[in-house]
Amino acid sequence: MITTRVQAEAFDAGAEAAALAAGRSDIGAIVSFTGLVRADDGLTALTLEHYPAMTARQIAAIAAQAWARWPLLGGTVIHRHGRLLPGDPIVLVAIASANRGAAFAAAEFLMDWLKTRAPFWKQEDRGDEQRWVAAKTSDDDAAARWETP
């Protein structure tokens, strides 16, 4: 199954991915995606607001969808909220499967979904200036490719 967590705390991406395969010999592929805070254009901090009940429920639902869609052997999705600094990890999607195709596809699917459907909102700090991040059409396009059968 795919474990999902929403937390303020940092995570250890390598340890999370390694844990998926620990003690098993049926896993042939682990794909891990880590999203990090970039210091673009003088960004000094990023604050992630979210809708906790909906976030938890929707991430679990999309994880179940990925589980049904690809032959996976395990997975972990972690999304942070709260105030983060440049270089900090924001999100982790780690997927284990027998073969690489399913692991890559499920990881990309989950990331595209998290970008466009998970109720998080990013506010950027640049010194004293704060600005809400606008949604990107490119993210909608990326998510839409999973809708076609």
């Binding site: 607001e49 979210h50 909906m54 998290l114 970008k115 466009t116 998970a118």
Partner: protein, 84 residues
């Protein structure tokens, strides 16, 4: 009575993250709800002025603006999400 939740700049413009309201009888769709809320205060009006930038969830599921709000317990109003 219905619980309304506001997030991100919708929350900031309205000036609160939650309120409980009894809705007028005619307010049965999301669009009608937004029209009604926009009359409550200048903050509400400012938050809801650009409807293309508003997203809605009823009881933790995304809905479109023509959705019925019949049995809604909790309605969340927010900008397009930017997680991940």
């Amino acid at each position: 009575m219905i619980t309304l939740l506001y997030f991100a700049w919708v929350r900031e413009r309205i000036g609160r993250d939650e309120e409980r309201l009894a809705l007028p009888a005619g307010v049965t769709t999301v669009t009608a709800l937004l029209d009604h809320l926009a009359t409550l205060s200048p903050g509400h009006a400012a938050a809801l002025a650009d409807r293309a930038a508003i997203r809605i969830a009823i009881d933790e599921d995304f809905v479109s603006s023509d959705a019925a709000i019949a049995d809604a317990r909790e309605i969340a109003i927010f900008p397009p999400v930017t997680g991940g």
